[in-house]
């Protein structure tokens, strides 16, 4: 199963993913206990690709990637994130 990870070179630490994940009570995004207190994703809690709730609110292109392939998930690619307001809620 593919997993999500944060690219710290591109992440702005705005915490929109943290807020979105916590709102759903998944709490997969957490503040790591390291000197920079950066955000990380716990693969044991993250439901990606079943859940993509954080992706449409991330404003930093390329900052969330599929860990196994390095493929950017921001902005959300249509084959992964299929919830769009455009015309219909697919």
């Amino acid at each position: 199963m593919p997993t999500l990870k944060i690219d710290h070179e591109l992440c702005t630490e705005c915490r929109m993913c943290y807020v979105a994940c916590r709102e759903l009570n998944l709490n997969a995004v957490y503040v790591a206990a390291e000197p920079l207190h950066r955000l990380e994703i716990d693969p044991a809690r993250c439901l990606f690709p079943g859940c993509t709730a954080c992706l449409p609110y991330c404003p930093a292109p390329g900052s969330m990637v599929e860990a196994e392939t390095g493929r950017s998930m921001v902005p959300p690619p249509q084959d992964i994130h299929r919830w769009s307001l455009k015309g219909k809620m697919r």
Binding site: T12, C14, R15, M16, V19, A20, E23, C51, T52, A53, L55, P56, Y57, C58, P59, A60, P75, P76, H81, W83, S84, L85, K86, M89
Partner: protein, 238 residues
């Protein structure tokens, strides 16, 4: 539709969280009110830059002295500060995420101003920041919030400001995208490009909060009323 706006819509506006309770409301606001406003903003910005570039170098100085985003940063700082202070103690837990976002944005907006001053001083258009206070052009501020009387208006509810986050911050992002394509001045580009991610993040706050929290007629009405006020205010300027 301008390709910059089309790209913005496809990448950042249409994607939403599965089952987001306020999404249909956001879709209606987007299609009925925001897109016509954004289209007008894009068109007028492109036209303004084309006219300026055709008239020599002074347009950069004139635009710079008018302020970053017409000093909408002042508008935002006051609203952020007001909202941080105006949420009652019993509501603090409920709106804590919004308050955290607002607190961060106070810093973001201050940085916008600082970068703007860097650009002005880097060009030699001012020697010290203090000079700006003596220059009527640099105090260009048509917004009624400048002297404070408007700053509480939009805070009849903690969600009200999302109308501005969703519409105006998107406009700032779109403007920066246009500058990125049309302006080659090193300092002007620096000032704008460094804000690109932040403006998009502020837009995302509005998008997220509308999707997540604006799920009832009462909360939707608050946002729509504020958006109507914002659109009416900016209609004369775009």
């Amino acid at each position: 539709m301008h390709p910059i706006l089309e790209e913005f819509l496809n990448d950042w506006v249409w994607p939403t969280a599965p089952g987001a309770g306020g999404a249909k409301f956001r879709l209606r606001l987007t299609e009925e009110k925001c897109i016509p406003g954004w289209q007008g903003l894009v068109t007028s910005t492109v036209r303004e830059l084309e006219a300026g570039q055709g008239a020599g170098e002074d347009w950069k100085r004139r635009l710079a002295l008018e302020g970053y985003a017409a000093e909408g940063v002042q508008f935002s700082i006051k609203q952020m500060s007001a909202q941080l202070m105006s949420i009652s103690l019993e509501d603090q837990a409920r709106w804590i995420d919004i308050q955290r976002m607002r607190a961060r944005q106070v810093w973001d907006e201050c940085k916008h101003s600082k970068l703007h001053v860097d650009s002005l001083s880097g060009h030699g258009w001012i020697k010290r920041e203090r000079e700006l206070m003596n220059d009527v052009e640099a105090n260009f501020q048509p917004l009624s919030s400048y002297f404070g009387q408007g700053m509480m208006f939009a805070h009849i509810h903690p969600l009200a400001r999302n109308a501005q986050h969703y519409f105006i911050e998107a406009g700032a992002y779109l403007t920066i995208c246009i500058y990125e394509r049309m302006v080659d001045d090193r300092l002007v580009r620096h000032q704008h490009l460094s804000q690109k991610a932040e403006e998009l993040m502020h837009f995302m706050e509005g998008k997220y909060q509308i999707d997540t929290y604006c799920t009832t007629p009462a909360t939707q009405q608050i946002v729509e009323q504020t958006l109507d006020w914002v659109l009416g205010f900016f209609q004369g300027r775009v």
